[in-house]
């Protein structure tokens, strides 16, 4: 059934990346009957390879993108991002929180105003434009709390969050909208509260393109997945349209796949990097970059973690990692001293070793050992809110350093905007108050780790001078080149990004298939 296409077949659409954006887009195109070749840099694991990583960290090493990247500013220097290189992309590791953007979050320039240092811009689309695709995406992903799908039961860590949140007056507290089956659906079982979802779900209860979109696409006979295939550069003809993708296999052999249209979904560093690395005589600044916005406006959400030692046992490793959410702080309320909002979501310690390593990154000695002995009493939450786009936060190419493929190594720069700092301070206070209302013995505030939510480096804009692509992710400069992942986000919102990536991918597939049918590419 799984089809193969000839390298010279220029009627295929090439999708780069098989994660949330690429995996979904490829399947949606294949369902319509469009022939797709999907190039994925990582290997193809089967679900039986996925084990939780509670004992051995081997799973993480196998899934994580570890090619050289250089982080500067507030980022971790050697591991600025925490994302996957594997078939299924970061949906193998993601926690499954699946929230819609709010209406005003598509109009940040209009609603928030002109904020110094921020490169705010309204999206060229509205919540209303995206609503039908949110509906389809939620149905596809089996999101709890939508479409009559019951919510998951709350685990201990959630019940602590809920009790504390209610005690300090929060109203909107529930076990979330999760792309995790609460009952059997779509030939996948219900969650068994195994825990360690971010090591990969061993039973497939959590939606991942690895075992949903990709096999479904293969079943259409219109789709070929090429794992271990790293796209190196895009080539274009004299008309300025993309006509091929050069890629390398693990042995370093190079191939060129001819193509009709290319959709890039390599996550928010690799996507702009590929465009920049594809510079040519006609496009000396990189592809689709006449605006100069390729690589700029990198957003990663304003985050922070709060751990607390509670008066009773919690055992927070048990069950779904993101087990619930408080949404009261996600609204726009500038009286708090910042624009945008944030969500409060549960987080476990990721195992005893991780908690000991990260709780207080340089602490040691008997005092610290005594804190860790209270392991069973720990509860934890994650604060995740909107960060503002800034022109100087982003991805550039290192002038001399090359990776194993001979490509320029990406440098990623990020510094908090003062609004981000004000939000984080407020969010830490809220997180602390939740646990202190239940008489927590001590509370720990942890700064952001490597970025997991990556957005904005090839943003949508109404006018070509403000961004890279239009409301369908189609590049302003090159009509057969599409941005198909979180890179196209114009703002980051308070919500976890994946539902919006998936909804945009479904919308883009319909648009692209329509153009192809009309012979426009």
């Amino acid at each position: 059934m799984a089809k193969t296409f000839d390298l010279k077949d220029d009627s295929v659409v090439v999708v780069i990346g098989s994660g949330a954006g690429g995996g979904t887009l490829a399947n949606e195109l294949a369902q319509i009957g469009v022939d797709v070749v999907c190039l994925e840099a990582g290997e193809r694991l089967s679900i039986t390879d996925l084990r939780d990583y509670s004992q051995a960290d081997s799973m993480l090493g196998r899934l994580t993108w570890l090619d050289k990247r250089i982080g500067t500013g507030d980022l971790h220097a050697a591991l600025p991002l925490f994302v996957c290189k594997t078939v299924g992309g970061t949906t193998v590791q993601w926690a499954g929180a699946t929230l819609r953007f709010q209406e005003h979050e598509f109009k940040t320039r209009t609603v928030y105003g002109d904020i110094e240092g921020a490169n705010l811009l309204d999206w060229p689309l509205s919540l209303r434009d995206l609503e039908p695709f949110y509906n389809e995406a939620e149905d596809k992903m089996g999101v709890t709390g939508t479409h009559g799908i019951p919510r998951l039961p709350g685990n201990n860590n959630y019940r602590v969050l809920e009790a504390g949140a209610r005690r300090i007056g929060y109203q909107s507290v529930h076990t979330g909208n999760m792309a995790i089956n609460s009952e059997p659906r779509d030939n996948r079982p219900a969650c068994r509260q195994i825990g360690f979802c971010t090591g990969g779900c061993a039973i497939g209860a959590k939606w991942s393109t690895l075992y949903t979109e990709i096999p479904k696409a293969e079943a259409t006979g219109h789709f070929e997945l090429r794992p271990n295939s790293m796209a190196l550069r895009l080539t274009h003809g004299s008309q300025g349209c993309i006509d091929g993708v050069i890629y390398a296999d693990n042995a370093g052999n190079h191939f060129e796949q001819k193509t009709r249209a290319v959709c890039v979904a390599g996550n928010s560093v690799e996507t702009p990097r590929l465009l920049l690395n594809s510079e040519s005589y006609e496009f000396p600044q990189g592809l689709a970059n006449t605006s100069g916005q390729v690589g700029r406006n990198f957003m990663r959400h304003t985050t922070g973690t709060v751990y607390a030692i509670m008066p009773g046992r919690v055992s927070f490793e048990r069950g779904t990692q993101m087990a619930g959410v408080v949404t009261d702080e996600s609204a726009f309320d500038p009286r708090r001293g910042f624009v945008g909002g944030y969500e409060i979501e549960t987080l476990p310690g990721f195992g005893l070793v991780n908690l000991a390593t990260n709780l207080s990154p340089s602490a040691w000695g008997s005092d610290y050992a005594q804190i860790l002995e209270k392991y069973e009493y720990f509860a934890g939450l994650w604060l995740v809110g909107e960060d503002l786009p800034q022109a100087s936060n982003g991805v550039t190419l290192h002038p001399t350093e090359r990776d194993q493929h001979g490509l320029s190594v990406p440098m990623i720069h990020f510094i908090d905007h003062p609004n981000d700092v004000a939000m984080r301070t407020h969010a830490f206070r809220s997180g602390r108050a939740i646990y202190e209302s239940l008489s927590a013995e001590s509370v720990f505030e942890l700064p952001p780790g490597p970025s997991t939510h990556n957005m904005g480096t090839c943003r949508q804009s109404e006018k070509p001078r403000d961004g890279v692509c239009n409301a369908y992710g189609q590049c302003h400069d090159i009509p057969n080149l599409f941005i198909s992942d979180g890179s196209q986000f114009t703002s980051s919102s308070a919500e976890n990004p994946t539902l919006t990536i998936v909804a945009l991918a479904i919308r883009q597939a319909r648009y692209l298939a329509d153009r192809l049918r009309r012979g426009e590419m």
Binding site: N156, R159, R192, G312, E317, L352, E376
Partner: protein
């Protein structure tokens, strides 16, 4: 105490397999023995602590910290003592095994 010894033993095994770790550990031992004029083993607990504090800013200290944490808190016996449940796939998950057994939260 036994578990700390086991953690050190894990490091010893690692150092046999890897010269970089071996060199690092030799460097640590040289430092802690030299710090007070007396070998480490002859120092009081307070003096030992003072020696370690003086080494906190060395390049090897955080590496050593990470290795000790991994071997000490990665030890299944220690994890059991701490009440850390760990992997649950092989037991069918935490669904019938206390994922929601919290009993100290009052309802109001």
């Amino acid at each position: 105490m036994r578990h700390y010894a086991a953690a050190v033993d894990t490091l010893r095994k690692k150092s046999h397999a890897c010269t970089a770790i071996n060199d690092l550990l030799l460097d640590v031992v040289a430092h802690v023995d030299a710090a007070h004029g007396l070998p480490w083993v002859d120092l009081s607990a307070d003096a030992r602590r003072a020696v370690l504090v003086s080494l906190e800013r060395t390049a090897f200290f955080p590496v050593l910290r990470t290795m000790i944490i991994a071997s000490l808190y990665g030890n299944p016996e220690v994890q059991k003592m701490f009440g850390y449940g760990g992997s649950s796939v092989e037991f069918g998950g935490y669904i019938g095994r206390g994922f929601d057994d919290i009993d100290w939260l009052s309802d109001n």
